[in-house]
């Protein structure tokens, strides 16, 4: 039966991808959302910040994120890999900019070339076929999301910037050490500097997750998601958006939009 599906599918390469490809995938029944289900996240690009006004008249800072050609590129299952997850790809790439090994890899999966790829752990009922397009309508206005992105790199940062040290006085005899950290420990005991002592070093460029940000508006035509507040990283950065992990049920999704589009919004 699997062979019949493979012959029917116009997918080169692996049998694995063919079994899960959207052209040959046949879901047993439309999965139903439960409060224990974990939906997939998406990869978006941070486009910039603006502001909106709410009904009470207060001004809200808003970050605009755009989904660019986001599809499911691969699947991880409990049977084969030990955990269930979806690999999501974002932003198409030109063939000439991609090495041959990568090109063949995407051909075997049966999907177009993608610039950025990331995994999202999902519950088993939220698995989508390979090639499924994800759009901004996956998120619901009023829900809460977690956003992960690399923070802006600050280079080799001094102790005042990195750890908010107070430094030393500007005058009263202090010589050449106004921004330094001062003492690093005691004397004969413990006769060492403790591990993890706060010192100068590289700051930024690490992955940062901001939790429980509200989705203020979703634009399905331009694939835009408007998030209240700020998001780590600079403009045009790839960010990962997921449903907030610390909120469940009615606190996560507004009552009117329960149940959320599950496993994702249907494309008509």
């Amino acid at each position: 039966m699997l062979l019949g599906r493979v012959l029917a599918a116009p997918v080169k390469g692996s049998l694995w991808a063919a079994a899960f490809h959207s052209s040959s995938f046949q879901a047993a029944a439309a999965p139903v959302w439960t409060s224990d289900s974990v939906r997939t996240g998406v990869i978006a690009r941070k486009k910039g910040m603006t502001s909106m006004w709410d009904e009470a008249g207060s001004r809200l800072p808003v970050t605009v994120l755009q989904l660019e050609d986001v599809i499911v590129t691969d699947i991880r299952t409990k049977e084969k890999h030990g955990y269930s997850a979806l690999q999501i790809g974002s932003t198409t790439k030109k063939e000439k900019n991609v090495s041959k090994p990568l090109r063949v890899h995407y051909e075997n999966l049966g999907v177009g070339l993608r610039e950025k790829v990331a995994e999202f752990k999902v519950s088993e009922d939220a698995i989508l076929p390979i090639g499924t397009e994800l759009s901004a309508s996956h998120f619901v206005t009023g829900q809460y999301v977690d956003i992960t992105a690399p923070s802006i790199g600050k280079g080799f940062a001094g102790v005042m910037k990195r750890w908010n040290f107070a430094g030393l006085p500007a005058s009263h005899g202090v010589s050449l050490t106004h921004r330094s950290g001062g003492s690093t420990g005691q004397r004969k005991w413990p006769s060492k500097v403790f591990k993890g002592k706060k010192m100068a070093g590289r700051l930024g460029g690490t992955s940062v997750t901001v939790q429980s940000l509200k989705v203020l508006k979703v634009d399905p035509e331009e694939n835009l998601v408007y998030i209240k507040g700020s998001v780590p990283g600079f403009d045009d950065q790839f960010v990962k958006i997921k449903d907030a992990v610390k909120l469940r049920g009615e606190k996560l999704f507004p009552k009117e939009s329960m149940p959320p589009p599950f496993p994702t919004v249907n494309k008509q």
């Binding site: 486009k47 603006t50 502001s51 006004w53 009904e55 008249g57 605009v64 331009e222």
Partner: protein, 188 residues
């Protein structure tokens, strides 16, 4: 009147990067203006943030306040104009507060555009800054336009130290405003 109509028609948010150069036609002495590249003018802005900004402004611009503060509008607000702003105290109740003053700064940042009014109230200088597209700003009225050559700067922060005669007409205008209000109430 027609000049203002055509001026405001052209003020509809169109990013200037799409303004194509005027094409020189064979009829150099023709009275009709040469055709501009209308496709480029009406094209969607390529930058997402420009599109988002223009969309948010068009939603907030129900009463035409964008045209009032447009740079090219000759009847628009300029630094030095005397404005009367009515603000709702909250979106729930209908009570309003009014503030009148000289416009000393106009900050143009798309949806975040704002302007600052300065007045001298009971011998104390008071400045208030209003967000142009805030829903709490009910109405903006120009009471007096600045005469040409009087204010030659975009930001009139020097008025904080050297007010000169800039704030003198305010008292008279305020009294006139109260009289007009009373007359309007009496008519009802």
């Amino acid at each position: 009147m027609n000049a203002l109509k055509t001026a405001t028609a052209r003020l509809v948010a169109r990013p200037s990067i799409f303004r194509a150069p005027i094409v020189a036609t064979k009829l150099n002495f023709s009275t009709c203006t040469p055709a501009r590249n209308t496709a480029a003018l009406n094209a969607k802005p390529k930058n997402v943030m420009e599109f988002v900004d223009s969309q948010l402004i068009s939603q907030a611009n129900a009463d035409g306040r964008q045209e009032l503060f447009a740079r090219k509008n000759p009847q628009g607000v300029k630094p030095g104009s005397i404005l009367l702003v009515e603000t709702l105290n909250s979106t729930a109740d209908k009570s309003t507060s009014t503030f009148m003053g000289v416009c000393i700064a106009i900050r143009r940042k798309g949806i975040d555009s704002s302007f600052t009014l300065r007045n001298i109230v009971m011998r104390v200088g008071v400045e208030q800054r209003f967000s142009l597209y805030s829903p709490l700003v009910k109405s903006i009225r120009i009471l007096q336009k600045p005469t040409d050559l009087k204010f030659r700067r975009a930001k009139l922060f020097y008025l904080r130290d050297q007010p000169g005669k800039a704030f003198q007409p305010l008292q008279g205008l305020w009294k006139q405003e109260q009289l007009d209000k009373a007359a309007a109430v009496a008519k009802k």
